[in-house]
Structure formats: C-alpha cells, structure tokens
Symmetry: C2
Subunit: 273 residues, 2 copies
C-alpha cells in the first residue's frame, strides 16, 4: 500500500454540479466518521451535452484538485464523467482507488431484475457512450438492455418542477418505449434523477424497480474502505465543499439534495488544475 | 481612429454556444462582403445559469481570443454575456467597438409598443441582472416592464422540441403573467428563443409583436461600420467558426440556426486566453 494512502485521511467526491450531493448524503449516513471533500464543477455544468474529450479533461482537472486534498479514495459521482473517463482516471492515478457510479448501479439492477429486461435512463453523453450497455452485457445472464437519453430531466429538476403535469408528460414521452418492452428494473443513470423518482414511478408503474445508484455507491465505498483497512474508526466526520462558480446557489439548492444545511462552500479556479 | 482598426478586417462574434448563429445569419445577409469570425463556447455552455463573475471571466477570455483574429468590431451575441459584462468589456477594450444584443432589442421594442407595456423573456441570469429593465426605463416614455425567466426554453430548443405539445404547455405557464398584464411587445431576450417563435406567438396571440434582436443587432452593426467608414466595399464575405468543445455537434445543429451548411469549425482551448 503506498505511503500517501496510509496517511491520507479523506474521501474525495466530484460531480459536474450539485447532483453528486445525493451520493454524499448516503456516504455520510453509512460512514459517519469520515471526512468528505466534495467538488462541484458549477462553472462548467452540465457535462451531459459535452464531448468525451472535454468531459475527460474536466475530470482530470477535478481529480488533480482533489488529490491535493489528502484523499485516500475518490468517487466520481457523475454518470457522464464515469461513463466517459473512469477507465482513464484509474490508469492515470494507479495508487488511488477510484469508484464510479455505473458499476454499483449495474450490480444492483442485475440483482433486482427477474425477467432480465433492464432499462437505463441518463444524459445524452452517458447514453451515447454505451457504458451501461457494455457493463450490463458483461453479466453471465443474457440481459435485454433498453436505453433512453432524457436531456430535459436535469433542467426540470434544476427548475424545481419535480411535481408538475408537464414533467409527467415529458416522462411519459421518454419512457413509452421501455414500458412497451416490459422492463422490470430501471437504472436512474444520472444523480439528478432520484428527485424525479415519484413521477418516474407513476409512469412506469409499481412493478418496475427504480435503481438509485447513490445508495449502492455508498455501500461499495464502505466495503472497499473496510477491505483495505482504510476506514476511520474514531472521530467525528464532516463534509467540506468546493465549487468552481460562486457558492450561493450551490448552498441554497444543494441543501435539498443533501438533506441538511450547507454552512459554507469555497470557490476555486478549476481551470488552473 | 486607432491604427489597429484601420488595418483590421474582420467582425468578431461570440456566444455561449450555437444560439449566436441567428445573429451571424442576419449579419451575413446585411453585410455580405464582410468576414465574420465566430466563437461558440460549447465546452462551457450554458451561461444563463452561472454567476456574473464567471460569465464575465468567460466573456473576457472569448474577447481576448477574438482580438487576436484581426477584428474591427465585436458583437456579444449572447444576452447573458451582454447583460452581465458588456460595460466591463467596453471599458477594457476602448479601441474596439463592441455591440451587445440588449440595446438594439430595447430600441426595437420601444418603437413597436403602442400601449407602453413591454415584456422580456430570457435566461435566469439575464432576467435577474435587470439589464433589460434598466435599459427600457431609460426611455423618455414611461414604460411598464414585465419580465420572466424561462430556463427550460434553451434545453427544449436543444432537444429539438420546438413544435411539441409539452413545449406549448411550458410556454403557457411561463407567459401567463404577461398575458394578464396585456403587453403588446415581447422581447425574445435569448438567441435561442427565435426558434420557439411559432409557439410563443400562438400563446401570446397575434396582437403581441415578438422582437427578435438578431435582425436589429445586424442593422446596428451595419450602421456603425458605415458611420465609422469601416465597412468593406469589395470582395466576397465568409464566416469562420471556432468552438471550445469538439466541432461535430456544433456543425450539425448549427446549420439549422445559420440557415446554411457549416463546412468546418476549429476547436480551441479557450481556458488559455
């Protein structure tokens, strides 16, 4: 085990914006003694409509920033960044365990599905990367995978329209194909989508299990820390927040996703990393 | 007249992404002999949900890039960037005439309105900057100004949902207040919105004039070039495109806004400027 990890203390988490706070919420619940360093790239959000090259460049800048913050493990809490750059990050930072949001969601869906018909919804970039299809098809069971990009879901969440009639109409349009195919498990492949769980559940019906990867990611982090004996056993945990745009909106909107008050967030110049 | 403008040949235009191509289209129509250098910040789009400080930083980087391209005049073809940074750009580049998209739209609305009730729609950043309200209230006539942020319009246009039922429902929700007030002129304060003209027109009714600033901006540019004797009188014009993300999507989607084929766009690293 490399020396920098032996003395490193923190868990790093990055996302394109505020969505990754749903992962932080679950991490804090499951690992209350850990210090979590969160970076939200609010000056360049969203990632879901950008190219693989640009998202990868941003992911490396975000990682270099977090590496300076004494981290022992990093979570890529953004589906687009995981789909487009997780492999490259793992190759380039071999001493740092890096966990993405796709694999835990895929494992949970494979476990949940009885009829082997699994759906995945995400941003345009996540879906066109085919990262979920590839991961689901590596399973020994033959699974039928149905995917759908839902580019309007993130702006609808950010507008706060999570219970509106138009949001349900848009969800009906996006999800019609999956309903016809008869999937029994649907991966919410974007950290914003858990906030639309109610409407997505109404559209898909009670028999379809919605897979929210935030919980499964937090469990994967806990398992890894325990296996590698990196878990903190004493002390009181905390969350420290960094953003690339001014922090006011992050603080006010982020509280809804985190489920508790954000006291402070510090703005940094991510383009320098 | 400063010497760099005497020999400078081109018109610079920047926007957060593809929306500014509606301005390029009108410029090319009105000034067919000019060479237009366009920069679309596709790696950091959108600007409308970001802070004044971040949008201003991006606007300065974009301007420094264009200044190296031998320009005699620059158009800020993005309402958010105009609202948040036009004054600072003009102060910092005193030798370069810089035209934004707000003033020409305001002048056209004041000319169009008979009942002195004018509406403005735009991104969250444009509306909260109050730049339109300030400009409209400088008029000698007392005008009643009604403003509304429409954050879902840009993603709806980028999704291509310009004729959908849900888009009309969303427009009805956003525009209900303005209809009640009885405005007779509505400024489309975002370069994406002209693509929703049909639906916005249906919702507002035939008596409300929709002000599309692309045409009025192009006229303002033509007037200024002629006044300052900077207009080209010979040769064949062309448009040269630069973007910050990979060019493929810009080329395919941009053609709809420009109304003609985009042969090529070159990717640059805007963070270096």
């Amino acid at each position: 085990m490399p020396s920098n990890r032996e003395i490193a203390k923190n868990i790093g988490v990055f996302d394109s914006g505020i969505g990754g706070l749903t992962v932080v919420k679950e991490l804090a619940k499951l690992l209350p003694k850990e210090t979590i360093i969160y970076f939200g790239d609010t000056a360049r959000v969203p990632y879901g409509n950008k190219s693989a090259a640009t998202v990868t460049k941003y992911s490396f800048q975000n990682t270099r920033f977090l590496v300076e913050k004494d981290i022992k493990l990093m979570v890529v809490a953004c589906n687009t960044a995981t789909a487009l750059s997780l492999g490259l990050l793992q190759e380039s930072f071999p001493d740092l365990p890096i966990i993405g949001v796709i694999e835990p969601g895929v494992k949970a869906a494979l476990k949940s599905s009885k009829n082997a018909k699994i759906g995945v919804i995400g941003t345009a970039a996540t879906i066109s990367s085919q990262a979920y299809n590839r991961a689901l098809r590596q399973s020994e069971r033959g699974v039928e995978v149905s995917v759908q990009a839902c580019p309007l879901f993130v702006p609808l969440v950010e507008e706060g329209w999570v219970n509106k009639k138009v949001t349900k109409l848009i969800a009906e349009e996006y999800l019609a194909g999956m309903k016809r195919i008869g999937i029994d498990s649907l991966i919410l492949g974007c950290t914003h989508y858990p906030l639309l769980k109610k409407i997505i559940g109404q559209v898909m019906g009670k028999k379809v299990k919605l897979i929210d990867s935030a919980q499964t990611v937090a469990q994967a982090v806990k398992n890894l820390l325990q296996e590698e004996k990196l878990a903190k056993t004493t002390g009181k945990g905390e969350c420290i927040f960094f953003v690339s745009d001014v922090p006011e909106k992050f603080i006010s909107v982020g509280q809804q996703l985190l489920g508790e008050k954000i006291q402070q967030a510090t703005q940094i110049d991510i383009e320098k990393f």
